[in-house]
Amino acid sequence: MIGKAFFENLAESANPVFIKELRQNFRNRRLLLVMTLMLLLQFGCSIIFSFGDFRDKDTAGSIFFLIILFAGFILSCIVCSLSAEQRFSQERADKELNYTMLTSLSPASVIIGKLESALVMIPFIYSLLLPFMAAAYFMRGISLESLLLIPFLIPILLLASLGGILAGSFGKRGISNLFTMGMIFFGFSFFSPGLFFVTRVMLGTTVDLQEFLLLLACEYVLSALLGVLLFLFTLKIISPKKSNRNFALKIYLFLLPFITLAGMLPLHAFTSSFDEEVFFTLEFLFAGGVVFLLLVTSIFEPPTAGIRTFMECPTKPVRRLLHFIFSTGFTGSLILSALIIFIPLAILPFMHFGLTERIVVYACVSCLFALENILILAHGLSWGTKLHLPPWALTLLLLIPGIVPAFRFSDASPVMQIVFMMISPLYALIMAFTGPTLMSNGNTIQFTGMLASCIGTGVLFLVFSRVFIRAFRHHRRPAEADSIKTPTPEMLGK
């Protein structure tokens, strides 16, 4: 009876979304169909291995085990991500999520509940494969090396589930499906360290402990960073309108370059050759990526935050400024983007390689380039709808850095071109359409174009500086805040 009480207590304290989704998962006929097909497939594999030529080979057992393991892994990936995505997007389409959000559940607990219910399917799927695992064991296919594969698969499954939940939160079923399928197929290549290790194991190559730990650390760190990012993006999407929905995401994005910086230092201890320029480039790449993400999110933000955010606004000037930068509202995002792009510049003095003119120019141009695109993204869409002529003229001016190099060879190195591409969607677009000729070195006209656009960017930034100032002035706790009636204890659930 102790066991029953324990499980009852566990069920009582469990996330309601988890309980609900678990019930739905095990009643879903499609899932049962997929699992049945999977079992039949495994059964077919077993037959082939039992009666085929593999039986006589020494590696037959390990290959059989790997097939079973990966079949379960792929099924888990598909089931976790697709089922989470489909259920969530259906809830969004039916507006059922609205009703869930009207309860006492926080958006974070909704996501966690969905993640739990997706992940709980994994042991269930693998438990179905246990008989085949037993067969692999009797075929002497389970070795220590092959068991070491399992830690590599766990973070991928976690990410697949989170990705599915994020895709489901879009609310558009077609886009969600496309995103999830793309993530399933292309996500694997992202985790090449793990797959590399798997290949080595499959080929029977010995792997030393240091390499194993390094690869494992890489995968776990990257998965953790990406996982938190996916979680925060989902949180932002499903959070109520006019709440400070971007606050956590912006703080995380701001911290991300520092986290990666801190993450790369231990890697330095593991590797004998540490190239500072590569280190700098990677850092710049992260900063560029973060700025790009900020820009993408900022175009969906209103210019300023809502009353709920203002109510939380501190009164001290510095705190108020920080609150303004990190709170919802694209003006804050623009300033934050500008700050982030300067983070790699801040580490430049600590580098031992020479501060060549090229690097400084790259850095400055990148900063301006980022600002320019911030302005395009933040204002271009609204301009487009209003069809005002002067803003369109300014927007065309900002196209110069993309247009100029389109006709001549680029002078930017491939690494910096990647940085540009990540910072500037416009640049990436032109590069994609003009083909690989732009990737060649030896042309200086790109710098000319970029520097020419800097003037336009500067002017535009000055023009919009009043927008920032006005937004900051507006970002304060309302004067009547103290007189606003607060909820009664009953409303607060006390």
Binding site: K20, Q90, Y99, M101, G306, P487, M491, L492, G493
Partner: protein
């Protein structure tokens, strides 16, 4: 709990779905939310339910802002949408259990709450059915149970009767009346105005996002009167043009004969006698009255008549969710077009919200009555006394609809004026 919608405006792109809308209602009331398609009802309801936010303005619950403290507000409001998704993989009880858990109900409290809800909404037989297997009416009951799971003080319902058969509508009405008696404030939107008329004691009428009229039924009636919304041929009781005034007896129930039966005689018990014959002659006389019909539509020939005294009592100590009809008649006027004292077959059509009733013979209006319930009843009794035969007494179920149409027509005619 007082619910106030203050100057709410909601803009979608260039479309103003709700335009400076303000109204309020308190607990124990059932308020109808009326408007044509695209009037902004659902948008307003979504803002009130904290699902959406207003572009400007706000909704207050006991003075607490819904836009600033939506999490707190959600604990005291229940939202019932117009439809429930068809889940193929969750049963009714599991669905309600999820929401009970989500509101923090644990253990025995949750079990008891769910049992009570299942009993209240009559879901016992279908509690273990999948939601996709339910009919529309059953789904609405599940939806109502979900909205009530945390015992909210304010219930906001979007088209709760849409797609329901008459029986399901009737059941829903009963549930709503019980909820109103439990001092819950209820706002429900509907296109079926006759449904609202039976249960609402107030209404909010909007069109194109703008408020046309709002308040309790009495307030709306007063507004309509002020705006000269009364029928053109209605003459106030007691005016010289209508002959002598006949005060109505208030204490005696009328006796209304069935068709074919001889009139039971004027049940004009005490009080003042009629000053003129009940049968209209050249100049329409005022008619002394007896009781008045109450309750739902009375079948032909066997009208049920409530004592006037009871009506007055009910009116004084009226329960919050009591139907509005028959309680707003204040004056008596009877006009007869022919002026002849011959028996006619009459039908009583009541217009409670416009404080009038009609005695009609087929399509011809024989009398237009306005007055309090007892006076109307007395007038009818006098008609019987004059040898007239009443073939039926029917409730006019188009009161709100008519009111809505009149208000919107008046508004559009105002807009047309330069």
């Amino acid at each position: 709990m007082k619910t106030e919608v203050r100057n709410v405006t909601r803009v979608f792109g260039r479309t103003k779905a709700v335009d400076d809308l303000s109204f309020s209602f308190e607990d124990g009331n059932i308020f109808g939310f009326i408007g044509p398609n695209g009037a902004g009802k659902t948008t307003t309801i979504r803002i009130m339910a904290t699902i959406d936010t207003a572009t400007s303005g706000d909704v207050f619950y006991d003075g607490v802002s819904a836009s600033i403290y939506p999490d707190a507000i959600r604990r005291v409001i229940g939202y019932m949408p117009d439809s429930l998704p068809s889940y193929k993989d969750i049963t009714v009880l599991e669905y309600l259990d999820f929401f009970a858990r989500s509101f923090g109900l644990r253990g025995a409290k949750r079990t008891n709450t769910l049992n009570d809800l299942v009993e209240f909404t009559n879901l016992g037989e279908i509690r273990n059915k999948l939601i996709c297997e339910l009919s529309k009416g059953m789904k609405q009951r599940v939806s109502l149970a979900r909205a009530l799971v945390h015992n909210p003080k304010v219930l906001i319902m979007d088209e709760p009767a849409a797609g329901l058969d008459p029986r399901a509508r009737y059941e829903l009405r009963i549930l709503l009346k019980i909820l109103a008696e439990q001092k819950k404030a209820i706002l429900l939107s509907s296109h079926i105005l006759s449904e609202l008329q039976d249960i609402c004691n107030g209404a909010v009428i909007i069109e194109r996002g703008r408020l046309l009229s709002a308040g309790t039924t009495e307030e709306i009636l007063a507004q309509v009167e002020n705006e000269e919304m009364q029928p053109a041929n209605a003459v106030p009781y007691g005016t010289a043009a209508d002959g002598p005034v006949v005060p109505a007896p208030h204490n005696a129930p009328p006796v209304i004969p069935a068709p074919g039966e001889p009139p039971a005689g004027p049940a004009i018990p005490t009080g003042k006698a009629p000053a003129a014959p009940a049968v209209p002659t050249g100049k329409p006389p005022a008619v002394p009255a007896v009781g008045q019909p109450a309750g739902p539509a009375v079948p032909t020939g066997k009208p049920t008549v409530a004592p006037a005294g009871e009506q007055s009592t009910a009116s004084a100590g009226r329960p919050p969710a009591a139907p509005a009809r028959n309680e707003h008649l204040s004056n008596i006027v009877i006009k007869t077009p022919s002026g002849e004292a011959e028996p006619v077959r009459l039908k009583l059509l009541e217009h409670p919200l416009t404080r009038s009733a009609e005695l009609v013979d087929d399509n011809e209006v024989h009398a237009l009555i306005g007055g309090n319930p007892a006076e109307v009843s007395a007038a009818i009794g006098t008609v019987f006394a004059a040898g007239l035969t009443v073939i039926s007494i029917e409730q006019n179920r188009m009161g709100l609809e008519e009111l809505f149409m009149r208000i919107t027509q008046k508004k559009s005619s105002k807009e047309k004026r330069p």
